[in-house]
């Protein structure tokens, strides 16, 4: 067996440990959840105040939902790697866990985090923003689900890249934007179709693009991660 290749059972246990470590750490500190929730509440409140009683077009509101989700992700999802760097535990993880286990464990944690935060964001947005109406719920539900997976996948590998940079706070959204542009355009378009009441099949193109995006990002990230992680 070549070095670094653990048996599948051991690798799964290792992935689970990385995920549970981050999960328990988050339950004890609530650092990422607090940052994300405060960002979501503050941003929705600002949108609410800026719109006042005038409202905005449905297209603009669909786009704004994803602006909130994108920047909320930028404020919290890099924590998973930045936290290890700040606490000096990157070496401990490098020493004990195979790189693939670290990547997939962190990806799983970010996926759970972003799915939960997106659910809260959508709920608050639908409750408080007048004029935001979803007519085809199935399109919207699949869009949010695929969008969350794609967001978690892209933000995990970008967080690993920027974690060791001195300017990581500003670098994260700047580096993320071009990488996430295809994802953002697809979810905004699919959300527009959901609010217009399109048939489910009409959003097939966006769903195919999102699934392709997820596969490409996850596969290429898992291949590149060892090089990012080791040095």
């Amino acid at each position: 067996m070549p070095p670094g290749k653990a048996p599948a059972g051991a690798l799964l246990r290792s992935v689970r440990t990385v995920f549970l470590k981050d999960w328990r750490s988050e339950l004890r500190t609530r650092y990422a959840v607090s940052a994300l929730l405060m960002f979501v509440v503050t941003t929705i409140a600002i949108i609410l105040f800026s719109l006042g009683s005038e409202g905005a077009s449905s297209d603009a509101l669909d786009g704004m939902l994803w602006v909130v989700i994108f920047f909320a992700a930028m404020s919290g999802l890099s924590r998973t790697f930045v936290m290890e760097e700040e606490r000096g535990t990157t070496l401990t993880l490098q020493l004990a866990a195979p790189p693939a286990a670290v990547f997939f464990g962190k990806l799983l944690f970010n996926l759970v985090l972003v799915t939960g935060i997106n659910a809260v964001t959508v709920l608050l947005y639908a409750l408080f923003i007048n004029g935001f109406v979803i007519r085809t719920v199935s399109i919207f539900a699949v869009t949010v689900a695929l969008g969350s997976i794609a967001l978690a996948a892209a933000s995990t590998i970008i967080a690993a890249i920027i974690a060791r940079a001195n300017t990581r706070g500003t670098l994260y959204p700047v580096l993320s934007f071009p990488i996430m542009l295809p994802l953002l355009l697809s979810v905004i378009e699919a959300t527009r179709k959901a609010s217009e009441g399109a048939f489910f099949a009409e959003a097939g193109g966006e769903f195919q693009l999102l699934i392709s995006y997820i596969v490409v990002v996850v596969v290429s990230s898992s291949m590149l991660f060892e090089y990012i992680w080791k040095d």
Binding site: P3, A6, G9, R13, K21, L91, A96, A101
Partner: protein, 208 residues
């Protein structure tokens, strides 16, 4: 397994930002032997330690850790490290840290063995307290338990007695003596009190 373990470093060079830290470093250590790494501050002792542990890639050359029959060994399973710059997960207790150490390696966690190890390093009364409440010497003791949990055939100690009191230093010496019987011991230090006990050595001041 540990009886046949072997560590070979060939023509190792490491650069940071075009600055060469060391070059042409070579060593060969078999089970039962110890390697002493010495050098001034900034000579690259910790860099070489990281390369030996498989967490840093050399700019040139290679390190091969063989588990026997010419098979390359997985450093995650074969190496244990104690170093001042290695940090435990401080929001967790020593027992939880050892549980994480086993889980990260994909191994089942033996709580009784972990408790025994923590008692051996002198932490019997603090098994479930968060590591962030510990002194630097107590954290160093947790690192010893974390490094020994998986019985590593290769144990790497960077400044092994850092932050330790007399009792802790005696513990470090007993761990080193045991490792000499069990596999390969690598020690990076400038404390040459026991220099005669090392069969192999690398002086990084001579490799710049």
């Amino acid at each position: 397994m540990s009886g046949r373990v072997r560590l070979d470093g060939r023509e190792l060079r490491r650069e940071f930002d075009r600055r060469t830290v060391f070059r042409d470093v070579a060593f060969s250590v078999a089970a039962g032997e110890t390697l002493l790494v010495t050098g001034r501050n900034g000579s690259g002792k910790s860099t070489l330690v990281r390369i030996i542990c498989g967490v840093l890639t050399p700019s040139a050359g290679s390190v091969a850790l063989e588990s026997g029959a010419g098979r390359a060994a997985d450093p995650h399973m074969y190496a244990g490290l104690v170093a001042p710059y290695l940090q435990m997960f401080e929001e967790f207790s020593p027992m939880e840290n050892l549980g994480l150490g086993a889980g990260l390696r994909g191994m089942p966690f033996d709580a009784r063995r972990a408790a025994g190890l923590l008692e051996r390093v002198g932490l019997s009364g603090r098994l479930h307290d968060p590591v962030r409440t510990f002194s630097s010497g107590m954290k160093q003791r947790v690192k010893y338990a974390f490094a020994l949990l998986h019985d590593p055939p290769l144990l790497v100690l960077d400044e092994p007695t850092a932050n330790l009191d007399e009792e802790g230093i005696a513990l470090a010496r007993s761990v080193m003596a045991e490792q000499r019987q069990r596999g390969i011991l690598v020690v990076a230090t400038n404390d040459l009190a026991d220099a005669a006990a090392y069969e192999r050595s690398v002086d990084l001041d001579a490799s710049r």
